[in-house]
């Protein structure tokens, strides 16, 4: 065993682990900044532009402030669960990134590097499962606060997240039909071989997945669990300081995760666009990771755009939407895709 291979065998996993933790964190920082700036521009304001270049360091300044804030635990709170829930929420969204590939394999000095920590034949299932664990953090947090507003927020959140998991799962299945695999890397490679992204083959799957994804992450117009005009701050009303920041960061990390999944499942992951058009072959010059980032950024922008435009759903309409529209449509979509797949 030469020194070089040893270096690669030890160093590369360490770097990868660091990258996989850093990737969502950096994305969260950029996203928080982007959200505030984009919403500001939509509303004809400037948004934060003082700290760092164009206010890019504002999220870090905010986090620093939160770090030094007093950590208040309500007297009547269940201390164990109260402290545990931000951790749970955070772990669930960060852990899922371990199974999210950040790009295709590439070579460095004759050594092939896979930019993911773990590749599993059921990677997609694991990501969905891990991100769903976050709902425990929300319900524990709402319950342990021992206060009415957080409790109502938590109840809403659980009902909402669990309901929207169903159309989410049903649409994911249609992708699995085509890719014949639940391995995220294989799904992207399949789109490369098919020379068409699944989003164009399965537009309804994509739409239902995206709507459910917004609801899963509790974002506008489905941000009922934390509807500030009714529930003050929803399930994290009683949290302060870094614990509050954990909820906040986890929510944004979750957004990044859902956007990554949309890109991986429906829009070719790190593949450059228009692979069939020879005149646009130069697009392949950019490394896959850059294309991946551009696509994720596009969907994150969509999140923010929607938030700047739409009013909030009321709870009964939200549940009606999922059970009366999205679930039947997702089922129908599933059956049609299955039949089409069988006939082809």
């Amino acid at each position: 065993m030469t020194a070089l291979t040893l270096l690669f065998d030890v160093l590369i996993p360490v770097i990868k682990i660091a990258a996989v933790i850093l990737f969502p964190m950096v994305m969260v920082i950029v996203l928080i900044w982007m959200e505030r700036r984009v919403v500001a521009f939509i509303q004809g304001r400037l948004g934060p532009n003082r700290v760092g270049f164009q206010g890019l360091l504002q999220p870090i300044a905010d986090a620093t402030k939160l770090f030094f804030k007093e950590d208040i635990i309500p007297r009547e709170a269940d201390r164990l669960l109260f402290n545990l829930s931000p951790v749970l929420v955070m772990i669930s969204s960060l852990l899922a990134f371990a199974f999210v590939p950040l790009g295709g394999p590439f070579d460095v000095m004759g050594y092939t590097i896979d930019p993911w920590i773990a590749r599993s034949p059921v990677g997609l299932l694991l990501v969905l499962g891990l991100s769903a664990i976050g709902v425990f953090g929300i319900i524990f947090g709402g319950w342990a606060s021992n206060s009415k507003y957080p409790l109502m927020g938590a109840l809403r959140s659980v009902v909402q997240v669990l309901s929207y998991e169903i159309p989410l799962g049903l649409t994911v299945l249609t992708v699995v039909f085509f890719s014949r695999s639940m391995d995220l890397v294989a799904i992207v490679n399949n789109q490369k071989d098919a020379k068409v992204w699944f989003g164009f083959l399965l537009p309804f799957s994509f739409l239902i997945f995206w709507i459910s994804g917004i609801a899963e992450t509790n974002r506008a117009p489905f941000d009922l669990p934390e509807a500030e005009s009714e529930l003050v701050a929803g399930y994290h009303t009683e949290y302060s300081g870094m614990k509050f920041a954990f909820f906040y960061i986890a929510e944004y990390a979750h957004m990044v995760l859902v956007s990554s999944l949309v890109v991986l499942l429906f829009f070719g992951g790190w593949l450059p666009p228009f692979p069939n058009v020879r005149a646009l072959a130069f697009l392949g010059v950019l490394p896959g990771f850059v294309w991946y980032l551009i696509k994720i950024m596009f969907f994150l922008y969509l999140y923010i755009w929607i938030r700047g435009t739409l009013p909030r759903y009321r709870f009964d309409a939200l549940i009606k939407l999922v059970w009366k529209w999205l679930v039947p449509l997702a089922l129908l979509n599933f059956v049609i895709v299955a039949v089409a797949w069988y006939l082809l």
Partner: protein
């Protein structure tokens, strides 16, 4: 899931109770069974205080009642005093008053649309509406130097004549506002979520509305065509052409549409007032220290939020013996429970927003 009915305190520190209102809600599975508004957190004892002030000193204090429509409060009080004194106000002053008060209605309704949309979650509308409102406040600033608590109307007329710069600014607002209003309407009017949150929510019948004394746009949204500007004209309102928008649904959506249409009518009135501004003085000859002859008077005007009335009892000195104010927000708030019962907890926020209350006026 079966829950016991829980009591929920909304406010006085809550993002959407518009100040320091506290609502004691009883909620059964998110369905509201009773609403009890608890007021008084902003009580400053205005009415008692006025008994120790001269008539002219009271005018700026009325700015602080409904601070989103200071000029309307000024006008309501000043008209009551003038009625008691039998004072004839110059025609030019009356027209300038009408222009100012209608601009104030514009500003107040715009702020309302913004807050209301924000309560329902459409956060961008708030800033669009405030952009337009800002232009109106700029006019007030150019006219008399203040933006919010303007003190822009005096006993006997108005403090300043309407010069060309201010008139030009007003005309610019008259031209710009309809476009911006169309933007807001495009964003909300046909939005399915907005319709779902407002249509058929917080319904109150015309009979109930009259019984509870509901006034202003909220009353007109139930189908009662009562507008004091038209039905009991004051300050030369009879000279102007305008429609009184009336809708019959009595829900949050109709209150929203009535107010938007009122903005358009206000623009019409302001344009007429500018075009037909008669020559003459802008302030009647009024002694520095007013002595109002003994007697009592009650006079109401159509403020942006509804019927605003002032009752004054004078005893012949320079200070009133008693002033009582009939504030539209206070009256309108009492119909909140009738409107919210049976609807969801989330709707209370929208219904409360649709009433357009200002705590400065409720608590006085």
């Amino acid at each position: 899931m079966a829950f016991k009915e829980i009591e929920l305190n909304m406010g006085p520190q809550h993002p959407s109770t518009h100040g320091v209102l506290r609502l004691k809600l009883r909620v059964d599975n998110e369905v509201v069974t009773s609403v009890e508004p608890v007021i008084g957190y902003l009580h400053r004892g205005m009415e008692k205080l006025w008994e120790s002030q001269t008539y002219a000193q009271i005018v700026p204090m009325t700015d602080r009642l409904d601070y989103l429509a200071a000029l309307s409060n000024n006008l309501g009080y000043v008209l009551a005093v003038e009625k008691l004194m039998g004072l004839e106000v110059p025609k030019r002053a009356q027209y300038i008053r009408v222009a100012l008060v209608e601009l104030q209605r514009l500003a107040s309704h715009l702020a309302w649309v913004g807050f209301m949309a924000n309560d329902i979650g459409a956060m961008s509308v708030l800033l669009y509406a405030f952009e337009d409102r800002e232009a109106v406040l700029d006019i007030f600033e150019a006219y008399c130097g203040a933006r919010l608590t303007v003190h822009g109307i005096r006993i006997g007329g108005v403090p300043f004549d309407l010069d060309e710069t201010v008139a030009g600014m007003i005309r610019r607002v008259l031209d710009e506002t309809p476009k911006k209003l169309a933007d807001i309407e495009k964003l909300l009017n046909d939005n399915r979520i907005w319709l779902h949150r407002t249509r058929g929510v917080g319904v109150i019948s015309a009979v109930d509305a009259v019984d509870l004394g509901l006034t202003g746009p909220a009353l007109r949204a139930t189908g009662v065509p009562w507008d004091i500007r038209r039905d009991l004209p004051y300050s030369s309102y009879e000279d102007f052409e305008f429609d009184v928008p009336v809708r019959t649904g009595g829900d949050v959506y109709d209150r929203y549409l009535v107010r938007l249409e009122e903005i358009r009518q206000s623009l019409r009135i302001v344009r007429q007032a500018l075009d037909r501004l008669p020559p003459g003085p802008h302030l009647a000859k009024v002694p520095r220290l007013l002595k109002v002859p003994p007697g009592e008077v009650f006079h109401t005007i159509e403020a942006p939020k509804g019927e605003l009335g002032f009752y004054i009892r004078a005893n012949g000195t320079e200070r009133p013996e008693r002033v009582k104010m009939k504030s539209p927000s206070f009256i309108n708030l009492q119909s909140l429970e009738r409107m919210s019962k049976g609807y969801l907890f989330s709707d209370v926020v929208g219904i409360l927003g649709s009433l357009d209350i200002v705590l400065g006026e409720i608590d006085k």
